[in-house]
């Protein structure tokens, strides 16, 4: 087992009087995919924000390569090699692939005040980086990011993070908005990133997707790690039950059936 790149030790986070995370202990290792599972509101997003430098823990510490670090800004997290890719991947829909790939680190050629953006180089590097992840349909770096499919955008964002030396890749629900084919695409890319020795934190509430790529699983329930296990230790049904808040899916289904029967088949009114 390789050494952990990032680990959380007794991390708590509260916003004012509201406790969002209690006593989180997790380890993310190189070449491993940690799947973070949990229902909506379980604290997954807050946990990602701690790792990507948006929020700081109220108590407890984050360690990188064994040494405690304070990730005070997203920029600092990125500099330390923690890259976060959000649900919709590329965030500059009206920029070309080459331009968006190099935002903030533009390659230039020429001299003095006449340094020009090296479009050809940028396009070539960007296209090659995406293609190395198996997305061979992207061949023209001048295409606008907004014209790519959801899976291609995710791939572009992941390829960008890897190209700029990310060691830890945080993927926030990358497959949530995608169709079956596109999701399979992204899962292949997650595997490729793992093969290259990156540590991947994969956030999802789709158990199937998690089981396809995960080596290590953590289930969050109401801000606490309810279960922490490795691949093969639990079945799909057990994981689904855990995510449903400890209740078994069977009980949940039974209660829904009972409700529907007693309310003439009308679903309950929305909670809010």
């Amino acid at each position: 087992m390789t050494a952990s790149i990032v680990s959380l030790k007794g991390v708590n986070k509260s916003f004012g009087p509201i406790d969002v995370l209690h006593d989180i202990n997790l380890e993310v290792r190189a070449g491993e995919v940690l799947c973070l599972l949990g229902d909506n509101g379980a604290g997954k997003s807050t946990l990602i924000r701690l790792l990507s430098g948006v929020h700081q823990p109220t108590s407890g510490e984050i360690l990188m390569d064994g040494a405690p670090v304070r990730l005070t800004t997203p920029r600092e997290a990125a500099d330390r090699g923690i890259a976060t890719v959000h649900q919709f991947g590329g965030t500059f829909p009206l920029m070309s692939i080459g331009r968006s790939f190099f935002v903030g680190v533009e390659p230039t050629k020429g001299w003095g005040p006449f340094k020009v953006f090296d479009r050809k180089f940028a396009n070539e590097v960007a296209v090659k980086a995406v293609q190395s992840f198996g997305i061979t349909r992207i061949t023209d770096g001048d295409r606008l990011v907004g014209g790519l499919s959801g899976g291609e955008r995710q791939s572009l964002a992941i390829a960008r993070a890897v190209h700029f030396g990310a060691r830890v890749l945080i993927l926030d629900e990358p497959t949530a908005a995608l169709g079956v084919k596109q999701a399979a695409h992204v899962l292949r890319i997650v595997n490729e990133a793992k093969r290259r020795g990156l540590a991947v934190v994969f956030i999802t509430h789709q158990v199937m997707h998690a089981m396809a790529v995960g080596d290590h699983f953590a289930v969050l329930i109401r801000g606490a790690v309810a279960s922490d296990f490795r691949k093969g230790e639990k079945t799909r049904e057990e994981i689904t039950d855990l995510m449903a808040g400890g209740e078994t899916m069977a009980t949940l289904e039974a209660s829904i059936e009972g409700y529907m029967a007693s309310h003439d088949g009308h679903p309950p009114s929305p909670a809010h």
């Binding site: 920029r75 965030t91 500059f92 829909p93 935002v103 903030g104 680190v105 340094k115 295409r143």
Partner: protein, 339 residues
């Protein structure tokens, strides 16, 4: 079907941000050429709309850059008269060298831009509101100070021959020298936006400011500099008008606010930021100036000009939306496949 190459190049042309504005300009030009007769396209006629386009264009370009970066500056409406009055008071009323007047006007523009930029960056109040505030504040300050200092709201300025030649000259008797300043400004900003890395920063900021900052772009600094540039450009137009017309008035700039925004939007810049081109803004400015001035060469009542501009704006926005969608949905054909 046909050979893919000409199709590809036509497609590439259609996907550029300025395609819509080019078609608009061509349509407007042909319209006024037909109804305006030979006078419209004669040197005198061309000068009438080129002169209007030049001073508007110098302001419209930095406004367009701000819009591409996701901001807006309407304080230019006060900065134009502030620039001309500052120059006229210092070099006309007090009789100091014209260089001092020009320098002071540009410095004032930079300062107001700095205040705009700092307020927008530090308070996160929308730049429309911030610059609406400075629009009125500068107008009031200008009026108050002008009356205290000179006792009047209109100041005479007699610039020397060098200043006249550079800023207030009519080439061939009809073309204002500002046209060349406009061309120079367009070339400079086109380099910045389309060829330098700073252009990438501006586009990224308009696309998503938070991601741009996380990618290491000094978004605050870029925003402040852009506001300073728009303030200085407005002051520059103001002072060059004072030198050209030998006088400056307190109220002579409010029309620039809407005219600049119309030019920029007709020029294909996306109102919400992240998309646009300098060439498009130049075309949009020309289109606006042609409609604004061309009406006098036709037999129509000049009151109809605003109607045309209004319709033009709406058509331009719809057309630009269509072309932007085309740019987004574009994917290259597989090599070797028959297109």
């Amino acid at each position: 079907m046909t050979d893919p190459n000409p199709r590809m190049s036509l497609g590439a042309l259609l996907r550029r941000p300025e395609t819509g504005s080019f078609l608009g300009l061509a349509a407007v030009f042909v319209f006024f050429w037909i109804f305006g007769g030979s006078n419209f396209a004669s040197p005198n006629g061309a000068a009438s709309w080129l002169n209007v386009a030049a001073s508007l264009g110098i302001i419209a370009i930095p406004i367009g850059l701000l819009m591409i970066a996701g901001e807006l500056d309407i304080s230019i409406g006060s900065m134009v008269p502030a620039g001309s009055m500052t120059c006229a008071i210092i070099s006309g009323h007090f009789g100091l060298p014209i260089v001092v007047g020009i320098g002071a006007a540009l410095a004032l523009g930079a300062m107001v831009g700095l205040i705009n930029g700092l307020l927008v960056v530090k308070t996160a109040v929308p730049s429309f509101i911030v610059t609406l505030g400075t629009l009125f504040a500068v107008a009031g300050l200008l009026l108050g100070l002008a009356v205290i200092i000179t006792g009047t709201t209109s100041v005479k300025l007699q610039a020397g021959p060098e200043a006249k030649l550079l800023l207030g000259h009519f080439i061939g008797g009809v073309f204002q020298v500002t046209i060349f300043w406009w061309i120079a400004a367009a070339a400079f900003w086109a380099f910045v936006l389309h060829y330098s890395k700073y252009g990438n920063w501006i586009l990224a900021m308009g696309g998503d400011k938070v991601s741009a900052r996380n990618a290491g772009i000094p978004t605050d600094r870029v925003t402040i500099i852009l506001f300073m540039c728009s303030g200085m450009s407005a002051a520059f137009v103001g002072l060059s008008q004072a030198i050209l017309y030998n006088s400056a008035q307190v109220s002579a700039g409010q029309s620039y606010i809407f005219n600049a925004i119309i030019s920029v939007v007709v020029g294909g810049v996306l109102l919400t930021g992240g998309y646009g081109s300098i060439f498009g803004i130049v075309l949009g400015t020309l289109t606006f100036a042609i409609v604004n001035q061309g009406i006098y060469y036709t037999g129509f009542d000049a009151n109809w000009a605003s109607l045309i501009i209004g319709i033009l704006l709406l058509v331009a926005v719809l057309m630009n939306n269509t072309f932007r969608k085309m740019a987004l949905s574009y994917a290259p054909k597989k090599k070797g496949a028959k297109a």
